[in-house]
């Protein structure tokens, strides 16, 4: 964990996490509240450092609270995707045969539909709220971990120590949880960075299209609002846009750093 990318990524993520945690302290109350004159330019009013939007809502408050939503969606989606993917992958890999075939065809079915369309369809049918959006994005994100875990499990289950565990009479579930899974997980964790970054972007895109949860601030909805006034008040789109760039870049760099560190440890070990 000494690569410059990793450190830069870590700094960005820590900064964003700090923003997310500080948001309710610095800007208590509803970040969607109307607090000033509409379309105040940034850096003109000390009370509203980043100005206000079309209705007079504080852009800085939106940025901070938006970080909460984005990080929450990113992490929650990763959790959902990893949990579902690992479960399906492990079962498929260990069970083999018909079970394996059936589960992998289900994975294929989800993979051939573009993830964003899947999320779009799911949200427009069920209605937008944060848990639904997380589920919708997770719906397409779990297939990557599932395939990876299955591949790892297939190779690990033939190892001698797994065979030994079986021979001494361990329950298949115990074999899976104590012997196979811990060794199959590290490469999957490297995938987390990609899932988080994708989830943040998909959530922003959904909100941009008006399919986000309208009762919470998200960067995507802020950009969508700002788009109408792009020519007169470009900062309304740029501020949340920069937030998105920082998040995705931070997560990606951190992921790279972690992967490097793990590869290094493996090489040394």
């Amino acid at each position: 964990m000494h690569s410059p990318e990793g450190v830069a990524g870590l700094c960005l993520i820590v900064l964003l996490a700090a923003m997310a945690f500080a948001a309710p302290l610095l800007y208590p109350g509803d970040p969607l509240a109307i607090v000033g004159r509409a379309l105040t330019a940034p850096f003109t009013d000390p009370a509203l450092p980043l100005g206000t939007d079309r209705l007079g809502r504080d852009v800085a408050a939106g940025l901070m609270h938006g970080a909460r939503t984005s990080l929450l969606v990113g992490l929650a989606t990763a959790l959902v995707a990893l949990a579902a993917g690992t479960l399906v992958g492990t079962v498929a890999g260990l069970a083999g045969g018909l079970m394996d075939e059936a589960l992998m065809r289900v994975v294929d079915a989800f993979q051939i539909v573009p993830g964003f369309l899947l999320a779009l369809a799911f949200v427009s049918v069920t209605g937008a709220s944060l848990p639904v959006i997380i589920l919708a994005i997770g719906l397409s994100a779990w297939t990557g971990p599932a395939r990876l875990v299955r591949a790892e499990v297939l190779s690990i289950r033939e190892r001698d120590y797994v065979a030994a565990a079986r021979v001494i009479g361990m329950h298949p579930a115990e074999v899976a949880l104590r012997e196979v899974l811990p060794n199959a997980l590290p490469p999957v964790l490297a995938l987390t960075a990609v899932i988080v970054a994708t989830a943040v972007l998909v959530e922003a895109a959904l909100s941009f299209l008006g399919l986000g949860d309208p009762n919470v601030v998200t960067w995507g909805s802020m950009i969508a609002e700002g788009r109408n006034v792009l020519r007169t008040a470009p900062h309304l789109s740029m501020v949340p846009g920069l937030g998105l760039v920082a998040t995705v870049l931070g997560v990606y760099l951190l992921g790279e750093g972690l992967a490097d560190a793990m590869a290094g440890r493996k090489a040394r070990g």
Binding site: L55, G210, P214, N228, V229
Partner: protein, 536 residues
């Protein structure tokens, strides 16, 4: 006659005296408006049908009104607010049971056939009355249309029908279709619905989906020296932000219906060669309303509804959401409809304390967390303004202790949720006032309307007194008595608040300076554009 109107509009800034003096000169100027040229206009949607006789909506009229003409068009200084088109005169009988139209002679359809009273009779009996969204209401009591000669049509009604209503409805509901193309076919599926044949100043030439509609000059048009333009192209630009850039780049010369977002108007007005025109929408007033589901027992309490109305700062909505391009509403009839507007209705002031008091009185005190009760709000997705007002309303009601959850839907889902499933507490809507309350306004509060009729009373509101007034007014022939009934109607609606009127707005047109005669009648954007011209 059209010349008169043009001059009036263009000399708008002159004083009355100056205008009168300038009239002959101005008329000469208008007739001199150059002929020829191609006008490229932004179109923000591609209506599935271009038949205004079936779908009388602004989206269809915007393109089809240049091809298919009504019996009369709205006009600022015309007699009864009308300018003759396919009819030259109309007269109601004393008993209100018949109206006689004299039709213009020498008018031919775009395929060369002559226009006769049989076309009008066919349109009325086979299309307007049974098929048209608004004609169903206006012509509900129409029995037969007699055609004693080729240029006379006598409409006979089974119950007294006010001539005032028919007059006000003429521009919107009476687009005449060619009988020889529609008779004996499935009218709703006729190919002429997509490639209309009419009598208007422009012929329909082609539609390339996703690209453009092309209309060409009708050389056999009945109006002398009209139309001025050779061709009109409606370029499909669904992205509202794109219209402004296209205007600046000179790719299009005109964008109507506020296609250029209000926030960009100030900037674009300063661009040399472009002008912002706010006239031409006087008879197309949109109303911003809060629709209420009276099935919710909290909202069934009048005091709660009044509190809601007091909690809304209408000036803020006008200034911030509409950037001043709107007017605060006082009731269900907009102020720019002087025929019907009742100036005595008492508007609701912005009064947070009053709202809080009313809610306390109604028995909904604030809870521990400062909240009284929760409501689901469905803002209509039709305009960015309706959505923005939804955002504002959530904040405004939060201030008086009402916890509001926004539910965003796309258009089909919104229509279904509000008008069919009644799955809402409050909704933001944008009905249109079309010159007479009986056309599309009373339906917003009348009871007994079947589920699924969009833009009607689907909130379960029923008020016998109001229903009686509405029924009476549809059969009152005497104009004064009818207006008095509608004054009562406004008073009761404002008092009892079946819905809350917040603001009323028209649209803006942005056009190149070379486009002449823009916005010179109260329905300009959806009129026939025969006198619209391009200077060189």
């Amino acid at each position: 006659m059209t010349g008169f109107l043009i001059s009036r509009r263009n000399l708008f800034l002159g004083t009355g005296a100056l205008m009168t003096a300038a009239l002959p000169m101005a008329r000469a100027w208008a007739e001199d408006a150059p002929r020829g040229g191609r006008l490229v206009v932004a179109a923000d949607s591609e209506p599935r049908s271009l038949n205004p006789a079936i779908v009388a909506s602004n989206g269809v009229f915007f393109i089809a009104s240049k091809v298919v003409e009504p019996l009369a068009e709205a006009m600022l200084d015309g007699e009864g607010g009308l300018a003759p088109r396919l009819a030259t005169s109309w007269e109601g009988s004393e008993d209100g049971l018949s109206i006689t139209f004299k039709l213009r002679e020498g008018v031919t359809w775009h395929d060369g056939e002559p226009l006769t009273s049989a076309d009008v009779a066919f349109s009325a009996m086979e299309v307007w009355k049974p098929l048209q969204n608004l004609g169903r209401v206006v012509f509900a009591n129409l029995d037969t249309v007699e055609t004693p000669d080729a240029h006379t049509a006598i409409f006979r009604f089974s119950a007294p029908t006010p001539i005032q209503l028919i007059r006000n409805a003429l521009p919107v509901v009476t687009s005449v279709l060619p009988k020889h193309l529609y008779e004996g076919t499935d009218i709703a599926a006729n190919p002429a619905n997509k490639a209309p044949v009419g009598t208007g100043p422009f012929k329909f030439a082609e539609h390339r989906p996703g690209e453009y509609y092309r209309l060409t000059r009708n050389d056999a048009y009945w109006g002398e020296g009209l139309p001025k333009l050779d061709e009109i192209i409606f370029r499909v630009l669904p992205d509202r932000a794109a219209a402004g850039s296209a205007l600046e780049a000179g790719e299009i010369q005109l964008a109507a219906f506020s296609q250029v977002p209000l926030v960009d108007l100030e900037r674009i007005a300063k661009v040399p060669g472009l002008k912002v025109v706010t006239e031409g929408y006087e008879a197309l007033t949109y109303q911003l309303v809060v629709e209420i589901n009276h099935r919710n027992e909290i909202l069934a309490d009048r005091k709660v509804r009044q509190a809601l109305s007091h909690a809304i700062d209408r000036d803020f909505v006008v200034d911030t959401v509409f950037l001043g391009y709107a007017q605060a509403a006082t009731g269900p009839v907009p102020q720019n409809a002087p025929q019907f507007y009742n100036p005595d209705v008492k508007p609701y002031s912005f009064d947070i304390e009053g709202a809080n008091r009313l809610l306390d009185e109604a028995g909904y005190p604030r809870g521990e967390d400062g909240k009284r009760f929760s409501l689901r709000l469905l803002p209509a997705p039709f305009f960015s303004e309706t959505r923005q007002f939804g955002d504002y309303l959530r904040q405004a009601l939060g201030k008086v202790g009402i916890d509001v959850t926004l539910v965003n839907n796309d258009t089909p889902a919104h229509l279904k949720a509000v008008y069919t499933d009644h799955d809402f507490d409050i909704a933001v809507g944008s009905p249109v006032f079309r010159g007479d309350p009986a056309i599309s306004t009373t339906i917003l509060v009348q009871s007994g309307i079947p589920d699924g009729v969009p833009f009607s009373n689907q909130g379960g509101y029923a008020n016998a007194e109001l229903d009686t007034i509405i029924d009476q007014a549809t059969e009152t022939i005497d104009t004064e008595a009818r207006t008095a009934l509608y004054n009562d109607f406004q008073r009761i609606v404002v008092e009892d608040l079946p819905l809350i009127n917040v603001a009323e707005w028209g649209f803006t047109t942005v056009a190149s300076d070379t486009v002449l005669n823009v916005g010179n009648n109260p329905r300009w954007a959806v009129s026939n554009w025969a006198d619209t011209a391009l200077s060189r």
